[in-house]
Point group: C2
Chain length 768, copies 2
């Protein structure tokens, strides 16, 4: 780990003491979001020190022109940029004419940040001595409302400690913002109108190219001793508008500025009604008032936690870690809008332009299936169904035909928007994860209807892709898949990546099985789909031939499948034998050296063993784990969770626990020295899996939920809840206790360590 300043606490993320070096990291860690928008924990008042400003609106992006040294055919013309949106939180504060700026204060003390995950609010408080010797005490509370998801609220309290004086608040909106990653000085926002009315102000702006129209709005009010103080318009420029409130205050008396602000967007409103919608949102917020809106926030978060909390006893850092992960996932995506997805940095930074990676299918869907209504996972699947046409176009750009679909590596709207050839064109295993998620959804929820309604068309497009992408090797008398990048992105353009070949084979087999099932069970759907796809028995036979004769690289010597052809030619030095100073290799080594090394960025063969655990014996898992884990450097946030789950399954609890801590506190402890760029949102679902699937050993076996619970010796107990087919099952594991409780009206059979038990409503089940 690289930092350790976050105070351990069960329900809160807490920082104490002001350190300018930590501002950017804390801006990431204390980020808030409500699924519709989110923002880094930037200061409201002016801060002239190092900061990374970020406020993001879900689904609003900019297609930046792809610029590379050497163009290669097939590159997408643009990549999606996660856009910093106009600032609505800003409040300049002057005391006797001198501006409050923590970077210029003579002294800052009792500085504290708290992100309360239980209730969904963020507080910052401090005392400071301004350059003019005014001593102030400040308390700020901020939250993005779940109740009114276009609205955020700020309560900014200030009092003077050593004198009477005049305090001026200048709350503002600013659309003259930039992106940190705007290398080419492009302008992303075009501001069309700045206006104000009483204590409200509005900036209408649209994104360049994509023309997302937005109204950024605010309303401010000042309260002193229970009296409301009126404000005036202070400034209005092309991209800026501010109000001004001034008040003489007595020493020790509290002055409170309340600011509501946020965005209305053309994705959700008619383009010409954005200001009206903003006024409406502000009216609702005003009617409720800050305190009532905060109450509703607490209630909304209580409902989320009711279903998704994991409680760990006896290990406060592990507890804090898992709650932070669950909290951030819920801040990012709540499953209310099937046009949205789960960006790898959520609303906490700009990196990895685009919102949707295979992370969603491989990591996030299991979390959302088990902690929300199944409709949420269905929406995530439907998102891909809605992009099927674009996936077919994407495959066509690469020379595929006949409805073959290649889902993009990164996307905002279904189009590919990443531009490294070794990833965009070759990391095609992502296509398999999308098919796997359809299988996984059905396996977990039992809801088959998705397959005839939508899933089968996706499966056909994907099977067509694999059929065309494989070629027959006369040398091997097998089908091979050449020139791919597996999940381990520290190998590029390899032949016969085992994981990819295995997934390709499985995708074809699964598609063929579903074709038979839909034909038998849903003849109307079958007819519609056959008409739409022109699929023929001859084509299915050709797919089958590929699946039946797929080549898998294998080492007789080691008894393991090889990550790819030629893996054993490498200099097989284990990670433990590498100098500490050489790591992380992605920061220390040139790319070619990484590529020819045996080092594995994240689970690759083992990702296949994770997806298809039931295809292999535990002995086989152990052999592969023992072969590959020693070469794995875990330099992807998606790596430790899979290894934690497999280590737990192999009974290696120390190792499982180490991987768990690494995944759950990746950002809190800044393992990868980059938390200031934002949080690793999608891998947080992997942390959840580490507990539920790893320690809890939860699986679905033939429509039945099965558990193999284990507990790390560092913990006294842990408990979690899952929603399985509309029953809420609570599992509590302690070293000498194992309890299952059912919330709902109908009993259910479960398997515990292979043995069937009936779990009845209001009848906790203790297993030995």
């Amino acid at each position: 780990m690289n930092q350790d300043y976050i105070r351990p606490n069960e329900w809160s993320i807490i920082e104490e003491g002001f350190d300018a070096e930590r501002v950017k990291s804390s801006e990431s860690l204390f980020s808030i979001g409500n699924g519709a928008m989110g923002q880094r924990a930037n200061f409201e008042e002016t801060y002239s020190g190092e900061t990374f400003q970020g406020s993001y609106i879900a689904g609003v992006y900019y297609p930046d022109k792809t610029r590379v040294g050497w163009w290669k055919n097939g590159y997408p013309e643009y990549f999606a940029k996660v856009l910093n949106a106009p600032n609505w939180i800003g409040i300049k504060v002057l005391v006797n004419g001198t501006e409050l700026d923590l970077a210029t204060c003579k002294k800052v003390s009792v500085f504290k940040r708290e992100l309360n995950m239980l209730e969904g609010w963020y507080k910052r408080s401090f005392e400071a001595v301004l350059p003019n010797d005014a001593q102030v005490e400040v308390h700020i509370t901020r939250f993005l409302s779940l109740e009114l998801d276009e609205v955020g609220a700020i309560s900014f309290d200030i009092s003077l400690k050593n004198m009477d004086g005049e305090v001026t608040f200048i709350p503002y909106l600013d659309s003259g913002i930039t992106n940190e990653d705007s290398n080419w000085d492009d302008k992303f926002w075009n501001t069309t109108k700045v206006s104000s009315s009483g204590n409200r102000a509005f900036i209408e702006a649209h994104t360049m190219k994509t023309h997302f129209k937005t109204c950024t709005f605010m309303q401010a009010s000042l309260d002193y001793k229970g009296v409301s103080i009126p404000g005036t318009l202070e400034t209005s420029t092309d991209t800026f508008v501010s109000l001004q409130f001034s008040q003489k205050v007595l020493k020790g008396e509290k002055l409170t500025l309340t600011k509501f602000g946020g965005y209305t967007v053309s994705r959700n409103h008619p383009e010409d009604a954005l200001v009206d919608a903003a006024n409406e949102a502000l009216d609702k917020a005003t009617n409720l008032g800050f305190e009532n809106l905060l109450e509703k926030q607490k209630e909304a978060w209580a409902r989320i936690w009711e279903m998704s909390d994991i409680n760990i006893q006896g290990d406060i850092k592990a507890q804090q870690g898992i709650r932070f992960n669950i909290f951030q996932l819920n801040q990012t995506y709540l499953g209310t809008d099937s046009r949205l997805n789960i960006g790898p940095k959520g609303f906490t930074g700009e990196k990895y332009g685009g919102s949707t990676y295979w992370d969603t299918e491989a990591y996030c869907i299991p979390f959302y299936m088990a902690t929300k209504d199944e409709m949420v996972a269905r929406k995530l699947l439907k998102y891909r169904y809605n992009h099927l046409e674009k996936a077919i176009e994407n495959a066509e750009k690469l020379g595929f035909t006949n409805g073959a679909a290649l889902y993009p590596m990164v996307t905002m709207n279904g189009e590919e928007c990443h531009n490294e050839w070794e990833i965009t064109f070759e990391e095609i295993h992502r296509n398999g994860a999308i098919a796997f998620a359809i299988y996984n959804y059905y396996r977990y929820t039992g809801d088959y209807s998705y397959i005839p309604e939508m899933g089968l068309e996706v499966l056909i497009g994907i099977a067509r892709f694999w059929h065309q992408r494989a070629n027959f090797s006369t040398l091997r008398n097998k089908f091979v898949i050449l020139g791919v990048t597996g999940p381990n992105e520290y190998e590029n353009n390899v032949n016969n990546n085992w994981y990819t070949n295995y997934l390709a084979q499985w995708c074809i087999q699964f598609a063929l099985e579903q074709l038979t099932k839909v034909k038998e069970g849903y003849p109307e759907d079958y007819k519609r789909i056959m008409g739409k796809t022109n699929l023929t028995p001859t084509e299915c036979d050709a797919w089958k031939k590929v699946a039946d004769s797929m080549y898998f690289p294998y080492s007789e010597e080691y008894g393991v499948y090889l990550q790819q052809d030629g893996f054993l030619d490498k200099d097989l030095v284990k990670v433990s034998d590498l100098e500490r100073s050489e790591r992380p290799i992605n920061q220390k080594w040139s790319w070619d050296r990484i590529l020819r090394s045996p080092y594995i960025k994240q689970a690759d063969v083992l990702q296949g063993f994770y997806f298809f655990e039931d295809h292999f014996t535990t002995d086989e898992l152990e052999k592969h784990f023992d072969f590959y884990e020693p070469f794995t450097v875990h330099e992807s946030s998606l790596s430790p969770c899979v290894h934690s789950i497999q280590a737990a399954k192999l009974g290696r609890m120390e190792q499982a626990y180490t991987f768990y801590l690494r995944t759950s506190r990746l950002d809190l402890d800044d393992y990868n020295k980059e938390v200031e760029e934002g949080l690793h949102i999608t891998s947080m679902a992997g942390t959840w899996m580490s507990i539920v699937e790893g320690f809890g050993g939860m699986r679905v076996v033939n429509d039945t939920l099965s558990f193999e619970p284990r507990i790390p010796k560092q913990w006294d107990a842990y408990s979690f809840k899952v929603n399985f087919r509309n029953r809420i099952i609570k599992v509590k594991v302690a070293s000498n206790e194992l309890t299952f409780e059912l919330n709902g009206d109908n009993g259910i059979s479960i398997l515990v360590r292979g043995k069937a038990h009936e779990l009845l409503p209001k009848m906790p089940l203790n297993v030995n």
Copy 2:
């Protein structure tokens, strides 16, 4: 071929008729240069149609920031941009106040361009009807002087055909120029002073970052009926200066503007003396006058042709092609400055930033060795010796140690400046070509002194690189070289590219041999080099182990070495079975599809058979040629020449002739649909090799020049000269005649078809 408008002519490149669509292509084809500077054949007068402006100064470049979508460790921070330099050729022409602009003329007729290769000048003439109905006849002659290599000269004749009138010439200098490839609107030139004095003007400007200081200068004079007409200063801005000459002319009378212009550069003069140097150059040019300077141009080119001409009888297009190639090579590099090298586009375009590729060693050195004094080739070798420290730094950036040297893929000053990982980091075979050139230079010239003086240090650095770059495969019990790109850039990051492995083995063996020879023959040099490199016998043993146990992929089934591991897994469809519409694949296919195909961009295994022909039997060559040629798409300009030479050796004259035409007329006939971007200069040396080594069958065998002449049936006869160890040998080949002539005072033994002959001065030798 894609165009056929160049008139066949033995000594000139001729275009007739004005076609705006061809302007950019002709600007490339009619480019002129004198080794120190060069320029595209842009019009002097204003042209508002499509044009690609380019004037280039040897050795003046700009290090543009590397910008890629995703940064990879080891990327060079910049890539060298070939810079468009300030324009000195510009002459605005007004007739009765209306500007001459071929894009706006009512009519353009008898338009003709001629690039006279024999004498080294470029002429353009036309008649045109201006928008104001003035009919003009124009003749312009331009050349870049070999005598005064900072000076170019223009003679611009105009006469009015249908009226008396007033003609105004506005000759100008302009440093407000841009690069076509400046994607990011960066400014490359900073103009510091614009001045004029009488009929002269100067713009002092320096490049950003690299701070090459330049003075662009001009002098103009107008002559009418033998009378010199004075001019005045017309305009002077921050980046522009012009003179003005006006004269009333009678219908049919000729008016001539003579303009001298060019550059003085801080590479060659003290920084504060550039204007003085410019005045001095102009004084010299003025003293000689346009006509005398042109006479000296003809004499200088006569001397070049005396040594390097190849005459082909009975095939005018083949004749034109080879002379165009020889002419352009000499326009680009004359061997007078060891700081310079041979850019792939010479002075004809911007593409492929950087001036030095492995093309120099693999293709250009043989041409310069045989057509110039051996000191020219030695200068090209010394260029790399001077960059040895940078090559060691380059290797260090990629993690190599102990003085291992990796020469850059592309460079201006020894630093790597290309930024595709698959090329920059992996196309390491270039290192072998640099060692091979040292061997080839010694083999051809017999001058061993270069090796103890400079070459051995380079060989040690290169051997160290290969030793470290290979790794031992316990699986194969051999050394392997993983993650490379061979000469065939349609494969990236492959394992055990045969060509690379073979070259690596040879480099080590050759270095070890030279160590022994230098130790025995040049003990002082040996001591100095050992002191400098800290080379130990133990280290040499370690190198030897790698060379002795190098792995080479081989197919028993086909009896051929495989281009790389896994080549036979590909779908082995021959090029002849591809749809015509699919080609060129680099324009039609996405990169991943190219990579997994069997198609070969340029000779790869066959490049090894070309370098090391004497290591293999003709049967082996034939087997490999027959295996690989059918998969070769020749989408690199460097491809057809090697295949032409090998086809000739195998007695396949039809095929050899087809490849010859393709290489020699690549640009004239625009085979690759890109001539408007500039010419393929370095591959032109390959054309020369196709005749001398291919048809002439010239080799050096144990210090003796050997010939196996053949003649394509399309030709009546061909002849060439070579400088071999200070004898000039002229070879003439006809279907029924084979003559050798010696120019010099000492006789020499040669081999003809394996039989020894004595060639004596002034005694032509007729063989059978």
